[in-house]
C-alpha cells in the first residue's frame, strides 16, 4: 500500500452521441494531463503542486469546460470559478466570477496562500489578480466558436424544453425514467457542457489534495455560482482523502458531495471505493453527478450515476486508465 495516485476528470454527463473523434480527443487530453501529473509526482512534487499544475493544463486546453473553452453565461460572456484544497491542514482557496484571469485555479491557490481570506469573487477577485500580477487576458480569449453555437442551442432548448415534440433520441436514461430527452441541469444532454475539470492527488508522503475548475453552466444567469468553488461540495481534501466532483451543481451542493466521501470514511470507517460508491448511491436522489477521489493509502477511485464521465487515473504501481463510459 502507499505510493502516489492521481485522478483527473473532464466532467460528468456526456452526450451518448458524442462523435468518436471528440471522444478520442478527450481521452488524449486526459492521458496527457495524467502523464504531466505522473512526471511531477515522480519528481517528488507535492500533491498541492500537482493538482494545480494539472488543472492549469486542463484550463488552458479549450476542449473541456474550464478556462479557455468555458461554457457561456446567458449574456455570452465567460465567468469562471475554481477551488483548491490542501489535505494536510485543510487549507483552501476559491474564486468565482473571473472574467480575465487565464488560470483560475492558480488564483484560487494565491487566495489560499497570499490573502487573508479563503474565497474571493467577481471584481474583488479580479483586483486581487492584478495585485498578484497573474496573467490576465481579454474575456474573448476564453470564448470558443463551439460554445457560442452551444449557447444558441441552449437558449432555444430553454424555450422549447417542455415541448412534447422533442424527439427522444431512443437511448436509455439513467435515474428515473423520463419521456423527454436525457437532460442534465435542465439542458438536453446534447447542449449540456459537462461542467468542470478536476484533479485529485496523493503524493509519496501520503498528502492529499484536490482542485476543481469550471466555466459553469451553459446559459447560466450572470452571477450564478455552482458547486466547483464551494469547499465541501465540489472540492474537499483532508488527511484521509482528496475529492473533486462534477455534474449537477444543485445536487452536489445540497449533498455536500466531496465532504461526504471523507465523512463516511472517517465516521463510518469505509474504505475509499466503498465511500465513493456509498455517496454516489445514497447522496444524489434524482441528481446526476460524478466524482474522483484518492486516499492517503495511495488508492484511487471514481464513481458517477449518469451516463458518462471523462476521467483518467493512475497509481504508482503502474496502473493507468482513461475512460468516458461505464
Amino acid at each position: 500500500m502507499g505510493g502516489w495516485a492521481i485522478a483527473v476528470h473532464g466532467g460528468a454527463g456526456v452526450d451518448p452521441n458524442l462523435p468518436p473523434q471528440r471522444q478520442e480527443e478527450a481521452k488524449q487530453l486526459l492521458a496527457r494531463c495524467l502523464n504531466l501529473g505522473i512526471s511531477s509526482l515522480r519528481s517528488n512534487a507535492s500533491a498541492i503542486d500537482v493538482v494545480e499544475l494539472v488543472v492549469r493544463e486542463l484550463e488552458t486546453d479549450p476542449l473541456f469546460n474550464s478556462g479557455r473553452g468555458s461554457a457561456l453565461t446567458a449574456k455570452g460572456t465567460v465567468e469562471m470559478e475554481a477551488s483548491i484544497m490542501d489535505g494536510t491542514k485543510r487549507r483552501c482557496g476559491a474564486v468565482s466570477g473571473l472574467t480575465t484571469v487565464k488560470n483560475p485555479i492558480s488564483l484560487a491557490r494565491l487566495v489560499m496562500d497570499k490573502s487573508p481570506h479563503s474565497y474571493l469573487a467577481f471584481s474583488g477577485a479580479e483586483e486581487f489578480a492584478r495585485l498578484q500580477g497573474v496573467e490576465v487576458v481579454e474575456n474573448e480569449y476564453f470564448i470558443t466558436p463551439e460554445n457560442v453555437g452551444m449557447l444558441k442551442l441552449a437558449k432555444e432548448a430553454n424555450t422549447i424544453l417542455f415541448d412534447y415534440r422533442i424527439p427522444t433520441n431512443g437511448y436509455d436514461t439513467c435515474g428515473a425514467g423520463v419521456e423527454s430527452p436525457m437532460k442534465m441541469n435542465g439542458l438536453p444532454i446534447s447542449v449540456y457542457a459537462p461542467e468542470t475539470v478536476g484533479c485529485v492527488v496523493v503524493d509519496k508522503e501520503g498528502r492529499c489534495a484536490a482542485a476543481t475548475s469550471t466555466g459553469g453552466l451553459m446559459n447560466k444567469m450572470t452571477g450564478r455560482i455552482g458547486d466547483s468553488p464551494l469547499i465541501g461540495a465540489g472540492t474537499y481534501a483532508c488527511e484521509l482523502c482528496g475529492v473533486s466532483c462534477t455534474g449537477e451543481g444543485e445536487a452536489i451542493i445540497r449533498g455536500t458531495l466531496a465532504r461526504e466521501v471523507a465523512a463516511v470514511m472517517e465516521y463510518k470507517g469505509l474504505g475509499l471505493q466503498e465511500a465513493v460508491d456509498f455517496v454516489i448511491k445514497n447522496r444524489l436522489d434524482e441528481g446526476f453527478a460524478g466524482l474522483i477521489a484518492v486516499s492517503n493509502k495511495g488508492e484511487v477511485a471514481y464513481g458517477f450515476n449518469c451516463n458518462g464521465m471523462f476521467r483518467g487515473c493512475a497509481t504508482e504501481d503502474g496502473f493507468m486508465e482513461v475512460g468516458i463510459w461505464e
Partner: protein, 322 residues
C-alpha cells in the same frame, strides 16, 4: 417532541466587561426576535418561513453584523451574504455581494424558489433582486457610525501589523483585527427552527468580516459550512469563516448524528470542542425531536432559544452569569 427555535447574533471574543449599553440592546433584540419566531411557530408557520422571518428581523436590527449594521469592507462599503436551507427537501439558496438589498435572506430564498440555481452573487444577484422587485435601498442605509469606527480601528491595527511584518500575509496570520472596545466583530446572525412535525430549517446572514477585501466570501453562504439542514437537524454557524469552511461545520453536526449515531448535543459539542480550533466557532442547532444545542468555543456567543415546553433563554457567555 414539540417545536424548538434558536437564534444567534454572532460568536467571538466578547469581553465579559462589555458595557451595559452594548449588552442590553442586543439581549433585548434577541428576545424580541425569539418572540417573533415563537409566535410564528405557534401559528403553524413552516420552519422555513420562521427562519426567514426571524433572520429578516435580525438583519433589520442595527446591533448585529447583518443587513443594517453590517461591518464594512476595506473600501468602507457593505457586501452582504446569506443562505437558507429547508431540511425536508434539502433545497437551498444563497447570495453574496449584496449592496442594496434590504433583506439578504429573503433574496436567498427567492434564488432557491425562483431560479434553477442555488447561489447568485454580486451584480448578478443585484440584478435578480430588481427583477424580483424586492425592497432595495441606498447602500448607505446599512452603514452605522459604530461600523465606520470599527473599520477605522481595524485599519489602524493592520497598519501596525504591516510595520512589523514585511512578508506577504501568511495563512496563519489570518485573523480579525483586535477591537478596542471588546465588541465581537466576528458576526453573523442565524436562526434554526423545527416544528412539532419534525420539519427543520436553517438560515444565516452576515455583513462578513470587518475590513475584508472587496469580493471576499465567508462561510455564511456556503451550504455545509455556515448553514445546513436535513431530516435530522438544522444548524447555523458563526465565527471565523475559514475555520467554518474547512471544518464544514454545519454539515458535520448532521454527519456525526447520521454516521456515528451521536445525539444532537453530542454532535454539536464534538464539532465545536473537538474538531475546530478554540476561539473560532459557535453554532446553534435543533433536532427533529425538538432538542436544542448552542455550543461555542469562543469567549461568548449572542444567542437565545425556546422550546414548546416553555423553556426560554437568552445568553452571551457560558455560565449562568449571563
Amino acid at each position: 417532541m414539540g417545536w424548538a427555535i434558536a437564534v444567534h447574533g454572532g460568536a467571538g471574543d466578547i469581553s465579559r466587561s462589555l458595557p451595559h449599553e452594548r449588552r442590553q440592546p442586543r439581549e433585548e433584540a434577541l428576545r424580541h426576535c425569539l418572540q417573533i419566531g415563537i409566535k410564528a411557530l405557534q401559528s403553524n408557520l413552516s420552519p422555513l418561513d420562521v427562519v426567514e422571518l426571524v433572520v429578516r428581523e435580525l438583519e433589520n436590527i442595527p446591533h448585529f453584523n447583518a443587513g443594517r449594521g453590517s461591518v464594512l469592507t476595506s473600501k468602507g462599503t457593505v457586501e452582504m451574504e446569506a443562505s437558507i436551507m429547508d431540511g425536508n427537501t434539502m433545497r437551498c439558496g444563497a447570495v453574496s455581494g449584496l449592496t442594496t438589498v434590504l433583506n439578504a435572506v429573503s433574496l436567498a430564498r427567492l434564488v432557491m424558489e425562483k431560479t434553477p440555481h442555488i447561489y447568485l452573487a454580486f451584480d448578478g444577484a443585484e440584478q435578480f433582486a430588481r427583477e424580483q422587485g424586492v425592497e432595495i435601498v441606498d447602500s448607505s442605509h446599512f452603514i452605522t457610525p459604530e461600523n465606520v469606527e470599527r473599520l477605522k480601528l481595524a485599519k489602524e491595527a493592520n497598519r501596525v501589523q504591516i510595520d512589523y511584518n514585511a512578508q506577504p500575509i501568511q495563512n496563519d496570520t489570518k485573523k480579525e483585527a483586535p477591537c478596542a472596545n471588546g465588541d465581537s466583530q466576528i458576526g453573523t446572525v442565524g436562526c434554526v427552527a423545527v416544528d412539532c412535525h419534525g420539519n427543520l430549517a436553517s438560515a444565516t446572514s452576515t455583513g462578513g468580516l470587518v475590513n475584508k477585501m472587496a469580493g471576499r466570501i465567508g462561510d455564511t453562504p456556503v451550504i455545509g459550512a455556515g448553514t445546513y439542514a436535513n431530516e435530522l437537524c438544522a444548524v447555523s454557524a458563526t465565527g471565523k469563516g475559514e475555520s467554518i469552511i474547512r471544518g464544514t461545520v454545519a454539515r458535520d453536526v448532521a454527519a456525526l448524528m447520521e454516521f456515528k449515531g451521536l445525539s444532537l448535543k453530542e454532535a454539536a459539542d464534538c464539532v465545536v470542542h473537538e474538531r475546530t480550533p478554540k476561539g473560532t466557532v459557535g453554532l446553534i442547532a435543533v433536532s427533529a425531536a425538538g432538542e436544542v444545542a448552542m455550543p461555542f468555543n469562543t469567549t461568548g456567543m449572542f444567542r437565545g432559544c425556546a422550546t414548546e415546553d416553555g423553556h426560554l433563554e437568552v445568553a452571551i457567555w457560558s455560565d449562568a452569569e449571563i
